[in-house]
């Protein structure tokens, strides 16, 4: 026999005005297990709570029902009240007789009847309430950042400044990401390297930051607060502890290879750092192209290395570390426009992409900052820019807008005007999108002061005619086909997800959208969290973004991670799912249903017929379970139950309101 107390609130006249609260209390006394019922003017007030505490003592109550407002409002208040009275706070239910009754049903008689029903429902449920405990776990106070572009660097610096150790795992030989490839940045046109390289150096010198370049995340186990991460450190063929970055090796190496960093417009050696300010500034050997690895000859770098750092025998190394939080900042790729047959399938050398252009215009790039067209190194006089290539194009590319290309195209046209006197730029666009501070003004300047001719229309065909590129479009504002004889064409290719984004998402157990961008937990209110607790997002891996937005998101992701790492213990909600192991058949249907990957199989040993036998059953990880209850319905055996919302509790409610 339970001892339930019912407390009916007047809320001034909010409830008492249309519900006969006294009658509700009187009726409540007749419900099974109810040993005490009363009404009071303001239940949530100090004296109101005192009424509850006193009654608990006086009547030796072991369950409490408050009939008042929405539990969304005061459930926590009353739970605390129970706790301070020495009771388990989960032995409590609320009947919402205000929002769901007095405020919507002006008829006092009908309202009162319904209020009584609602109290009966709460009383029926509370009888089935069991004491619940929040679980808590310790936290590993270290963060892992995957991807060392501007977003990842910013995240690492912010977390490290807050006093927590951070590891950056970067798959390239250096951190820096795309921003390192960019020459100047809109809308201020400050030099990208001037603002990025100091940050890279800061990161490399920060006592709390460890950079694992040329490395990748191989395996993720564990859960929020306690991830076990396996990282593959790819063989650099250079002993990092011995190498001083003197550069002798790459000076001497006879093997030249197209430089990825320079978008194939320049060369690098087989032993190389991608660019002079690389961090760490120590080389790797590209084993695919190195002659030594190809046919055993050469070894020049090793011969000349003053410190004996070159190590052809080096192997990949796997390390496993514990982290409390993960930030993913793996950035983006450029859309591959070789699907556009009408633009030459990517085979015209002078039809280049935005990133090619960045390298051409960069003073330390392959042309020393001179805009020369790749085919014959002539300086182009007429440059055509084509926007939305692969963006906003369901037929060949992606349906979304890439957000940055309107601005970087304006930037490019500005730079053409500055660098090539007498040149002329044409920009084909569908819309000009400039939603940022100072962006519209920048675009206006490009069109007015830098004389870029904007033409509203999508280009239908680009073809080579002699040494010119013919560009055919429509000026849709006058409604006539137009044709331009260009020397060079720059395509504003869409920003797309990294090709391995899907794999990484599966490794991490986070979700991704139809375009392989990682999905945030809520598009407006939880933009840097994922559905997997403890994994956060920053930068262009979540969707096309420019540098200001990437950095802002990085700060937000860092603060979320810091918030998590600052806790000594992590409390998880008591409303979690629970497996009745004795009945679970181990079919694991529930596992696939859980959106938080909180269910896994475990092996239990039990005595069957006097023999010990092993058996698989489902196990709910209480720190990961968010209490949605989806699994409980999926289990055909009905052996999963959601604590606080058990089948028995809900059925009791159903029965109570159906009388």
């Amino acid at each position: 026999m339970r001892r339930v107390g019912v407390f009916v609130c007047h809320c001034g006249s909010n409830i008492a005005g249309t519900v006969d609260v006294e009658r509700v209390a009187k009726e409540a006394c007749k419900f099974p297990n109810v040993v005490f019922a009363t009404d009071y003017k303001y239940m949530c007030s100090e004296p109101g709570q005192q009424v509850i505490k006193d009654a608990i003592k006086e009547h030796n109550l072991d369950r409490v029902v408050v009939a008042s407002c929405s539990p969304r409002m005061h459930e926590p208040t009353f739970r605390r009240c129970l706790e301070s009275a020495g009771m388990n706070p989960y032995l409590f239910e609320m009947a919402n007789i205000r929002e769901h009754c007095s405020w919507v049903h002006p008829d006092k008689e009908k309202g009162t009847v319904k209020a009584i029903d609602l109290v009966r429902k709460a009383a029926a449920k509370v009888v089935k309430d069991e004491p619940l405990q929040k679980s808590s776990i310790g936290i590993t106070k270290r963060a892992l950042v995957i991807g060392g572009g501007i977003a990842g660097i910013q995240v690492a610096l912010d977390i490290a400044d807050a006093g927590f150790p951070v590891t950056i795992v970067e798959k390239e030989p250096t951190i820096g990401g795309r921003m390192a490839q960019i020459d100047k940045t809109f809308p201020t046109l400050d030099c990208s390297a001037c603002i990025l390289t100091p940050k890279m150096v800061d990161a490399s010198q920060h006592p709390n930051i460890e950079i694992l370049s040329y490395s990748e995340v191989e395996k993720v186990e564990g859960y929020v607060g306690n991830f076990n991460i396996t990282i593959r450190k790819k063989a650099r063929s250079v002993d990092m502890s011995k190498c001083t970055g003197c550069g002798t090796c790459w000076e001497k190496c006879p093997t030249k290879v197209d430089s990825e960093f320079d978008m194939g417009l320049g060369k690098r050696k087989a032993i190389y750092t991608p660019f002079p300010q690389a961090v760490p500034n120590k080389p790797v050997i590209d084993r695919i192209h190195c002659t030594k690895f190809k046919n055993g000859k050469c070894g020049i770098c090793q011969k000349f290395c003053p410190t004996g750092a070159v190590d052809f025998e080096q192997q990949d190394e796997l390390i496993t570390e514990k982290y409390g939080a993960i930030v993913v900042s793996t950035g983006f790729n450029q859309f591959d426009h070789s699907v556009y047959g009408e633009y030459g399938y990517g085979k015209y050398p002078d039809v280049i992409t935005g990133l090619h252009f960045e390298r051409l215009i960069n003073a330390s790039g392959p042309t020393m900052g001179k805009i020369k067209r790749p085919s014959d190194h002539k300086i182009p006089e007429t440059v055509v820019f084509v926007k939305c290539v692969g963006s906003r194009d369901e037929a060949k590319g992606k349906s979304y807008c890439s957000r940055t290309c309107c601005m970087y195209t304006a930037k490019h046209a500005t730079l053409v005007h500055e660098k090539i006197p007498g040149s002329k730029s044409y920009i084909f666009y569908m819309d000009v999108r400039t939603p940022g501070k100072g962006y519209e003004e920048f675009y206006k300047r490009t069109a007015e002061e830098y004389e870029a001719q904007y033409i509203r229309g999508r280009v239908s065909k680009i073809y080579q005619k002699g040494d010119k590129l013919m560009v055919r479009g429509e000026d849709s504002l006058i409604g006539r086909p137009v044709e331009i004889e260009a020397d060079m064409v720059v395509l504003a290719n869409a920003m797309v997800a990294r090709e391995d984004a899907g794999d990484l998402a599966r490794t991490l157990g986070i979700s991704y959208d139809k375009d392989n961008f990682f999905t945030e937990a809520h598009p407006k209110l939880r933009p840097v969290e994922t559905h997997t607790a403890g994994v956060f997002l920053a930068g262009a891996c979540q969707g096309p973004k420019d540098i200001p937005d990437s950095v802002a998101q990085a700060g937000a992701a860092a603060s979320k991670a810091i918030g998590l790492l600052s806790k000594t213990q992590m409390e998880s909600d008591a409303i979690v799912s629970n497996v009745d192991e004795s009945r679970c058949s181990g079919c694991m249907i529930c596992k696939g249903i859980c959106p938080y990957k909180a269910i896994d199989a475990k092996i239990i040993t039990e005595r069957i017929g006097g023999k010990m036998a092993e058996r698989q059953v489902a196990e709910v990880n209480k720190s990961l379970c968010q209490g949605c209850g989806a699994c409980t319905v999926a289990c055909r055996a009905g052996c999963l139950n959601l604590l606080g919302f058990t089948n028995e509790q809900i059925l009791a409610e159903v029965e109570a309101v159906c009388l």
């Binding site: 047959g341 009408e342 030459g344 399938y345 065909k461 073809y463 080579q464 005619k465 002699g466 013919m470």
Partner: protein, 289 residues
């Protein structure tokens, strides 16, 4: 290999060379062609732009006849091919269309047989190796621009080759020992019947195509469509008269003519003597007479 042969109206008149050379090539490749008995005109673009249903029904009647014989159709003309393909796809993808078409044609076409272009049959299906092995007179590196026209590779997703940069004919040219020049107007439209119906508009399209072909150094253009052929071949004289500085003497060939010649047939037997633009000098240059 056996196909129901659909020559279409053109191959019996203005495109007679295409008919002659196709028959020769078929013989060499061991492809048996059986002309569809009592076939009718496919309606061309006039048909479907006047009455959508008629545009589907006219080709369907021919397909229905071929279906009775259980043969896929080979249609050398790009326009006929495009109309038949459209009809085939429409009937296959909608029961309602199938029924309506059947009502008009008074014949059942189930979509069990389909249509292929001559390029598909003679080059893609036959295979470049077979073509190479049959070649006895090498084209000697003749620079040839392969012109596919617009309809052969459309609608996108249904055709047998890339819609923007098809290669079937280029590969054939190479297999025959010619040099297929890379050029950007492979699939630009020649205007179809516009040069006849709306001369000025049509001639401009032909002019552009010939100019680009010449500018990339093509010594000849090879086509797979009688309409393209007629526009490019017959209109050169017109253009030379009507357009300042125009001076075109660019030989135009059907791809089947080149194949027949390379396979050792006399050019005349393939119908090559019937062109408007002289072909003898370019053939002479490469010892192909």
């Amino acid at each position: 290999m056996k196909y129901a042969y659909y020559p279409g109206c053109s191959l019996h008149s203005t495109g007679i060379e295409y008919d002659m050379s196709s028959q020769l090539v078929a013989g060499k490749l061991g492809v048996e062609l059986k002309e569809i008995p009592d076939w009718n005109c496919c309606g061309a673009s006039a048909g479907h732009t006047t009455n959508h249903l008629l545009g589907l029904a006219l080709p369907a009647r021919n397909l229905a006849i071929a279906e009775k014989e259980g043969l896929d159709v080979m249609a050398p003309c790009a326009s006929c091919y495009n109309r038949m393909k459209t009809s085939e796809v429409a009937v296959k993808s909608s029961q309602e269309t199938k029924a309506r078409v059947a009502e008009v044609t008074e014949m059942e076409y189930e979509g069990k047989v389909g249509v292929k272009s001559a390029l598909e049959v003679f080059v893609k299906d036959a295979g470049l190796d077979t073509i190479k092995s049959l070649t006895v007179k090498n084209l000697g590196g003749m620079k040839i621009a392969a012109y596919y026209g617009c309809l052969l590779v459309r609608p996108v997703g249904i055709g047998f080759d890339d819609p923007e940069n098809p290669m079937t004919m280029d590969d054939m040219v190479t297999a025959l020992g010619g040099e297929a020049v890379d050029w950007p107007f492979k699939t630009e439209c020649c205007g179809a019947s516009l040069p006849t119906a709306r001369e000025k508009v049509g001639l401009k399209l032909v002019y552009d195509i010939l100019t680009i072909a010449q500018s990339v150094g093509a010594e000849a253009v090879v086509t797979a469509c009688p309409l393209c052929f007629m526009n490019l071949d017959m209109r050169q004289n017109d253009l030379n008269k009507k357009v300042d500085n125009a001076n075109f003497h660019l030989p135009i060939f059907y791809f089947t003519e080149l194949m027949a010649i390379a396979f050792g047939e006399k050019p005349a037997k393939a119908g090559v003597g019937k062109h408007f633009v002289d072909t003898s000098s370019v053939l002479a240059k490469y010892n192909l007479k």
